[in-house]
Symmetry: C2
Subunit: 404 residues, 2 copies
């Protein structure tokens, strides 16, 4: 299996077309509409935000996946407006967008998934989108460049486009997976959403795709945090064209696909954290000795969301007492006499005992752009890896900017 | 009932003596030991941190209150070292401190409550404390000045001393309550603890004091947040000398006492938030329409701990969508169609509908040093008020400083 990053050639799945347009939703005049379509028979799975204030496009997308029984032909994304807290008119705007696109593509409205990202609580300028749909559809094209442009049109304050692809060979042919993402914790005023679109050419039923996506998301997008806020619009979509002719049900293929999908998701998730607003360090938290990997992730998330811990990382400060204190607030029955903490290779706390560690060496680890912090809970044998970043003055500067 | 702040004359409860000393725990050479004592028969109640990594003095203090059945004669506090993550030697250090003080005061070791605040994971220099105890005891004195010096010796990075007092008249005499606090979210490297000592001269049994303290803490110290981190050392102590001769059991007195205690706690809690590290604005969150006041506080706490919301306050930005999004992550079944949000007097979201509000006027509210944000959940009739502050670049600067 090969895994390619943003700088590499895209391992392009067959069967998809991509397009983008500038509808004038963003004040900056940058592209703010993106479209992808898939051939008849394409199937999809998606995971959506758990935020109860879910935006209108999330509600519409869920409904369409349900009524269409996982058959999906197109996804349309606008940036610059979240279409959230917009009530019944917002839902109508999302549906009108799908209906207009469906007419243009001669497909069923329920086979369109809409996404939005941007400011909350401002009516979606839906007429700008409707006017742009003809040229958006006219621009649909295959190929690497079309996918890259699609990926750029969904960016908001991301500093870099996020792209990963993988392919693997089977007896029945080659399968490719390519995904693009826009960042979460790209928390420019009003823009806090993570959107991910993963395209693949395997032939698979929606239920099998859902299982595959759920497993991959759990250890990738659900194992990162920039600032602990879950947006109203988060969406991860997996769309399968079937164009490779390789069926997921062929023995051995599901395991290969799972590995490749996980690698694509992990790469995109890491790219999102690396590009976190103001982030100075990528921190790999390894939590070991938990009773379940979900518990390990819960502990990691608590550490990753502590302002005190995150600011100590910004200062390259081996002040592990803050992390120790955070462990005590997780609701998990941690016992200091079983806990171990390491900064890079330096054990600083060992089962109730402070280790006389080399502060200068630990400080040197924390000055690196990327490092590992290991926490052993000593409860059982489950573990998890979690990616996060520090909390810097730059984050505050960006997010305290006035929104208008 | 009168309530006096830090600049007013202290309404001093009878029966207490106070002292302070410089033991050399703090590198700065500032006072780092404080002592208060009470006459025989004094009773106490305390609430401690819920952090499972509770420091040694918290463990020792809980044990002493239990074995002494709430009879307490003295409290000794050191700043500069938290005596946390210090294992068995740390617990021994806390107990040795109590034993030495008990010998000097000719009282039972279990009638001493120890407190510590400072860096986690560094052995407590207990010999420095033991050496200082004789001069600490020799310095015990009554009066307002002695209490003020006690209050200053427990400060770490607090910019201002925190002090509040109240008194009320009964047919049996006058009762006075005076409390001092050091800040939480005074989160200088390693110093994240809130310590509160409240002295009163009512005559009351420990169980009654516990009920009084619990009720007052719930709506004061449990209704504030600076950065969402719960320290390993948090302690709120209520110590009653009985020297007023007024019994809490006299009809009507318990209600008067509850009002006065609540006022003292509320004043101290507000002083703590006002002095939060880097805080530029004091935000009064009013959450209404909840199913219980605990639920209202839970919602308020989620808002108060969102970095996205806190940075928008730092920027005086009426970007209420961030707050709206936070509501969706509380786990409470909020329905956008019932939610109301106001910035000061300006309703910005009303039951599913965005209000066309005056952005300039809302911005002007948010530029004030202190303002109210009201959130109506529309679920039922319970409410809560919660105090918090913004998240500024100054907070990051202070907390990213290298700890050594």
């Amino acid at each position: 299996m090969k895994i390619h990053g943003p700088a590499d050639k895209v391992l392009l799945p067959a069967g998809f077309r991509f397009s983008f347009a500038t509808a004038g939703i963003k004040a900056s005049g940058k592209p703010d509409l993106a479209l992808a379509d898939a051939p008849a028979g394409a199937c999809a799975a998606a995971t959506f935000t758990l935020n109860r204030m879910a935006a209108a496009p999330v509600l519409a997308g869920k409904e369409h996946l349900k009524t269409g029984r996982g058959r999906l032909r197109a996804v349309i994304i606008n940036s610059g407006n979240a279409n959230c807290a917009t009530g019944a008119p917002g839902l109508r705007a999302a549906k009108d967008t799908c209906a207009a696109l469906a007419r243009a593509l001669k497909i069923n409205p329920s086979s369109v998934l809409p996404s939005s990202t941007g400011i909350i609580g401002v009516p979606l300028p839906v007429n700008k989108i409707l006017s742009a749909i003809p040229r958006l559809v006219a621009g649909l094209a295959q190929g690497e460049q079309a996918l890259r442009s699609f990926g750029k049109a969904i960016m908001t304050t991301d500093l870099t486009p996020k792209l990963a692809s993988a392919s693997f060979k089977t007896r029945a042919g080659t399968v490719s997976i390519a995904g693009v993402a826009k960042g979460s914790g790209m928390i420019h005023p009003n823009m806090a959403t993570m959107l991910v679109y993963i395209f693949c050419d395997i032939a698979a039923a929606p239920a099998a795709l859902r299982r595959q996506l759920k497993a991959a998301v759990e250890v990738s997008f659900n194992a990162i945090s920039v600032d602990g806020d879950t947006s109203t619009n988060d969406t991860v979509l997996l769309l399968a064209s079937g164009a490779s002719g390789v069926k997921l049900t062929i023995p051995g293929v599901a395991a290969q696909f799972a590995r490749a999908l996980r690698a694509v998701c992990a790469s995109l998730a890491e790219q999102v954290v690396r590009d976190g607003e103001g982030a100075g360090h990528l921190v790999r938290l390894r939590v070991e000795g938990a009773r379940s990997s979900a518990e390990a992730r819960r502990v990691a998330r608590a550490i990753a969301n502590s302002p005190l811990v995150k600011t100590s990382w910004a200062g390259c400060d081996p002040n592990w007492g803050r992390l120790f204190s955070t462990l005590g607030n997780t609701g998990i029955p941690v016992d200091p006499a079983r806990v171990r903490i390491s900064i890079g290779p330096h054990r600083v706390f060992d089962k109730g005992k402070v280790k006389a560690f080399d502060r200068a060496a630990a400080h040197a680890v924390l000055k690196r752009p990327e490092y590992v912090i290991t926490v052993g809970l000593g409860l059982a044998k489950a573990s998890a890896e979690f990616l996060t970043c520090d909390l810097t003055e730059e984050y505050i500067r960006i997010n305290a900017e006035y929104s208008t």
